[in-house]
Amino acid sequence: MKRNLTQKIWIYTTLIIGMGLLALYSASFENVRVPHKIFFDQLICALGGMVIMYLFGRVDYRKFYDAAYIFYVLNILLLVWVLVSGRDALGARRWIDIAGVNFQPSELTKLSLILFLGRYFSNRRPTLSFDLLSKTQMLWRNLIWPFILTAGSMLLIFKQPDLGTSLLLLGIFIVMVFSAGLEYRYFLGFLGGFVAIAPFAWKVLKPYQKDRLLVFLNPNIDPLGAGYTIIQSKIAVGSGQIFGKGWLSGTQNQLNFLPERHTDFIFSVIGEEWGFVGALLLVYFYFALIKCGLDIADQVKDKFGTLVTIGIVSILTLQVIINIGMVMGVFPIVGLTLPFVSYGRSSFLIFIIMMGFLINLSKRRTIF
């Protein structure tokens, strides 16, 4: 059983990466706008990623317990640095150069936030504190403080501006706070609070972000801009029908119809060329991988391990669901990648490291 889970994670990750590479090959095949070089780039990234995954699988995850806070603080400093010295003065500031390599600290935040919240909540046992703390104190300790700390990095990422990742962090927080055992009424109250402030949050958004949300509600508002992408990607996925048009022969894809098809919209290539069967297969692989994570969460005995697993599972689920939903027009275009499949080093690497954690967790659980 123990070996089984480890092996399963390896198998499903490899399968997903493999499918992603094939799709990327097709997306950049004989194409002017997307250079073929990115396929080889991703291939090297995948091979290197496997090694990294193996290495992380061998490092005891509890070592990261000690480093979690420092790691989070460093990450926040990196985010501040991006804002201050970003590569660009007026456009989006998401990248920094470390020793000549571009890196997106916002991707790193996904991991560091999970570790941070994992440690924070595993230190506290809300259900066992009896009457030692007042209700207010409890609320501060179990909800408000961690939320303020999460909101810090969310705000920095929102300023970049990257609404998608920022909301994703909120998603992680909600799932983890729930998993940590916050009383239901507070939890529901917290969610209700968000619904209540949503209209005010609208004002903070940049015009193009508002556009995207509006267009999601009605793609015909902006047939030239974001609406165009939604319509065309829907056509691409839908036209795949049952068996697809075949690898390298998707017309929507090959005819340069989709602007971001190698990154955020890679799923449309899979849907078009491999049809329902291919798309469903990929969705199944993700599902199986996530299920492995859930099984691990059930079996890990220490709280930090459980929380980190739940965090990883939730982020994986959220990104897969939101990305695929976005390609099919169910979600607004928020610019989240499809894990392991979309082109992009930072994102790829972070998910690989997360899988390394899962492997490690699946191995260690019997020690306790």
């Binding site: 456009g91 729930f178 015009p207 017309t251 929507q252």
Partner: protein, 570 residues
């Protein structure tokens, strides 16, 4: 328990995605397949129309004119050779060039490719007549920018053109797209956000012959806002005429509120050249021209101010109480420092402050500068706005250079007393723009009120109030009054350097400047001053790059003022 709930939610989400996939790919798959096969959806962009630019009297300075573009729809073409043979015959462009352009631009079979832009109306009609013979050929009506004032005001207005790569990357998140027409330089660039309309478009479904079957969606384009300037186009054409093709600049500013009435840099260029396509040769001449016609000398050209800088030196001398209005120095025609002769234009004999300004006596300022020291001069020159941006609402303004003695300590070249002497007469490292000097003169003339120079009055119906503030400079009025006596004497005094400007009709005062540039070239000629007209009081500057003696600038200033008076513009 909690994790069970999470597990259930995740299962639920995956079920929803699977159902959605099933719905999109299997149930509506046929329809989408059909749509993708013949991609019948077409997007026809509708231009929003750029706002116009008007001068202060409502005269149009930048307008939109109808233009015709030729487009080809790749999937509808029946015989590509025939089509391009016909096009090349009508448009007088070689068939090969056109075919190549078409292939480069072709994106998808159902996106129209623009093969020729801004063709003549006559040719557009001819193409339209024969359209039925060549399926896939389209003539689209659009608009193009037109600048009726041509060379006059080119530097204020700027021009429009395709967005540059660097800019597009920077502004991508703000809705700028490739192929977009944006403003470059001048008001067109600075106020691009306001002038630019929002592009709209229609999405239509067409049949196999390319005829519209139904309208899928429509986004109305919005027109950009009209902008009216403080610039007077009458003054602009006079300035341009007076400068002819000589290198130089003329700036005229209303002293009361900082409205810039005239801003002319010469030699100029015709912004219409940038609008016209296939004009690369003409443009490359513009870009490589030794005389730099694209450079806006009024705000981007930095030059040594020469004797004009005696005004801030005199201000600092009086303010620092090192000398007073009656302090006199003896001019022997030169000043000797460390065995080096620092010369003067004449032997002026005994000079007081007012006389020294009127005669532009160098020796007086050498002596005053030595008493003062460079730091005092720096302080007051900076207060008067030199070495600082004026923050006029035009892009790429330069702030020039005001040398600082202590900053020199960081560099290899120390500050010698000789540097102070040069500094006192506006030579050496000091560089200013004509606009900075005009603002300085406005401060002096209004006895210490600093205004904000600006060129835009209203945007749409909204009056721009951002530039309305005034600031009082911390320099006493008495100082300014003494200086003004000197500036007036420059004009009225029989031996004053700008005596040609002693006009019956207009009250003029100011300071001349002849600045050395480099050894083998002519000097720069300056006249910076203020005039009291019937309707407004203006500060102005006439500058000739390598124009020889300041006398040349004075003569031009005389012509300028008289012409303006004649046409009752001031």
């Amino acid at each position: 328990m909690r994790n069970k709930i999470i597990r259930l939610v995740i299962f639920g989400l995956f079920a929803v995605i699977t159902v959605e996939l099933f719905y999109v790919q299997i149930i509506s798959g046929r329809r989408y397949y059909h749509l993708s096969k013949h991609n019948r959806i077409r997007i026809v962009p509708l231009e929003g129309g750029r706002g116009r630019i008007l001068d202060r009297n409502g005269k149009i300075m930048a307008d939109n004119r109808p233009a015709y573009h030729v487009m080809v729809m790749p999937q509808d073409i029946e015989d590509i050779k025939m089509l391009f043979a016909f096009l090349s015959k009508v448009l007088n462009v070689e068939q090969k060039i056109m075919m190549r352009r078409y292939r480069q631009k072709k994106l998808t079979p159902f996106t129209p490719v623009v093969v020729a832009q801004n063709i003549e109306r006559k040719k557009a009609m001819e193409l339209e007549e024969h359209k039925y013979r060549f399926p896939g050929l389209m003539v689209q009506e659009g608009s193009k920018r037109f600048y009726p004032s041509h060379k006059n005001s080119a530097h204020v207005l700027g021009y429009v053109g395709r967005i540059s790569q660097a800019k597009r990357e920077r502004y991508q998140e703000y809705g700028y797209t490739p192929q977009m027409i944006v403003g470059h330089l001048g008001v067109e660039e600075y106020y691009d956000d306001h002038l630019r309309g929002d592009q709209g478009g229609v999405q239509i479904e067409v049949n196999s012959r390319g005829k519209q079957v139904r309208l899928l969606s429509l986004k109305d384009p919005t027109k950009g806002k009209d902008i009216s300037l403080t610039i007077d186009s009458g003054i602009q054409s006079i300035s341009q005429e007076i400068l002819e093709e000589r290198r130089g600049a003329i700036v005229i500013m209303d002293m009361a509120n900082g409205e810039v009435l005239g801003l002319t840099s010469s030699p100029s260029y015709d912004p219409n050249d940038f609008v016209q396509r296939d004009n690369a040769k003409k443009l490359s001449v513009l870009f490589s021209n030794q005389e730099a016609p694209l450079l806006n000398r009024t705000i981007k050209g930095v030059f040594p101010p020469g004797s004009v800088f005696k005004v801030p030196v005199a201000v600092s001398a009086l303010e620092s109480k090192k000398i007073n209005a009656n302090t006199s120095f003896m001019c022997e025609g030169h000043h000797t420092l460390g065995g080096i002769r620092f010369g003067c234009t004449h032997v002026h004999r005994l000079q007081n402050l007012v006389e020294s300004l009127a005669h532009s006596c160098n020796v007086y300022y050498y002596r005053a500068g030595l008493k003062l020291g460079a730091d005092w001069i720096y302080k007051y020159a900076r207060l008067l706005g030199l070495g600082r941006l004026t923050h006029i609402d035009l892009p790429y303004e330069k702030k020039g250079k005001l040398p600082h003695r202590r900053k020199r300590l960081l560099t290899a070249r120390r500050w010698y007393t000789g540097d102070t002497l040069n500094f006192s007469i506006g030579q050496g490292d000091i560089l200013t723009t004509p606009l900075q000097l005009v603002r300085m003169m406005a401060i002096v003339a209004s006895e210490g009120t600093m205004v904000q120079p600006h060129v835009v009055k209203t945007i749409g119906k909204h009056i721009v109030k951002d530039h309305d503030f005034k600031r009082q400079i911390k320099i006493s009025k008495d100082t300014f009054r003494t200086i003004k006596k000197g500036l007036r004497a420059t004009v009225t005094d029989y031996s004053g350097t700008a005596h040609v400007l002693d006009l019956k009709e207009i009250y003029v005062a100011g300071k001349t400047g002849t600045a050395q540039s480099s050894r083998d070239k002519e000097h720069h000629a300056w006249f910076v001053g203020y005039a009291k007209g019937e309707t407004k009081n203006v500060a102005f500057c006439v500058f000739l790059e390598h124009g020889g003696s300041s006398q040349n600038a004075c003569v031009l200033a005389r012509k300028l003022l008289l012409r303006m008076k004649e046409e009752s513009l001031i």
